[in-house]
Symmetry: C2
């Protein structure tokens, strides 16, 4: 599906994509700090490093276009900080699920949207975002936790349903809107359908009902 007409202007795109990766890094760092054992710390710290590398890759693109990253990201910080706060979860497993599902959906979304960027930046951004996020450790830890505690599965299923709604709002606000509401809805709808389908596959992979 070509969603390039929904891509905002490059600086706006880069600022949001970079700040989303910073948020992913912060979530994964918190998961490292709270990890119950050293082997999960190792895997989670690798994933945190991957998000950080993406963040710095996108920051570099902002500088390359002559803008100051902290200035252009500032406009998006309040909404994204709020998003990260409400998706942080109440315990370690909720945080892990959040890291997995929100990064999965948003990496996917921004990668698709990068097709609408100018050719001097889009391919490099696509490359940055396509790097392995190292999130197998999240799947593994979630599967272990779910297998040990059936109650956790139902709690996480509910948590996953809530996360997808909040995450789609972030995606929606990052898309360029023409201002013609019915037309915008009809362009955005199929994108959401695909993002939700991928989200459902992630939930299925964990044995959770989406």
């Amino acid at each position: 599906m070509d969603i390039s007409d929904l891509t905002p202007e490059p600086i706006s795109y880069l600022a949001q994509a970079a700040y989303v990766q910073l948020g992913a890094f912060q979530g994964l760092s918190a998961a490292v700090a709270a990890a119950p054992n050293l082997s999960s710390k190792e895997g989670l710290s690798l994933a945190a490093g991957r998000a950080l590398t993406k963040h710095h890759g996108l920051i570099a693109e902002i500088r390359r276009r002559g803008a100051e990253p902290s200035e252009v990201m500032a406009a998006f910080a309040p909404a994204l900080d709020h998003f990260h706060r409400i998706t942080a979860g109440n315990d370690w497993h909720e945080l892990l699920l959040s890291c997995y599902l929100t990064a999965g959906l948003l990496d996917d979304f921004f990668a698709r949207l990068s097709g609408g960027l100018p050719s001097d930046v889009g391919p490099r951004v696509a490359h940055v975002l396509a790097e392995d996020a190292g999130t197998e450790v999240l799947v593994h830890e979630l599967q272990v936790g779910i297998a040990a505690d059936p109650m956790l599965a139902s709690r996480l299923a509910m948590w996953g349903r809530r996360l997808v709604g909040d995450t789609l709002l972030v995606a929606r606000s990052a898309m360029h809107a023409s201002g013609d509401l019915p037309a915008d809805e009809s362009r955005i709808e199929p994108v959401f359908t695909e993002l939700i389908a991928a989200h459902t596959r992630r939930m299925d992979g964990l044995g959770l009902t989406a």
Copy 2:
């Protein structure tokens, strides 16, 4: 100064050095999360990434010697977790000073100690530890904070004095002891003198009395 006779056996060295870098990463990640603005977040996240890279470089050396990192680090985790807890500080500036001074001293210490490792691992470890820690951002933020608040300078000077004591204990416990106490003291003493001199230069650079 040659301190190679104080180097413990390689796995013990690598496990402690790797866990120290993990602790540095966690301290810097916490500093990113608590940073008051986006430009300090950017610098701090780079420094966090550097500590993480060192951690994973040392982890790789543990694996190369056939050991499992999480197993060999576990023996040192309680003492080092305690160290990181008591050196975390009560606010952002104390945390920054701690990240700067403890990493400065311990990177320096482990780099010197790497001279006593076998030649199939020592030079690679020295290379990993010699990578720029990206800590100029810590110096910058501390200088800005101190310039804006003279009370902060005296509080941080006291905090720095406490940090050096706790950090030297970590260094001491990482050194190989012969068991002959007077002889060990006389070997360790000049190492401590050099580490403290470098610490004093770091404090001076911040305008703090060591």
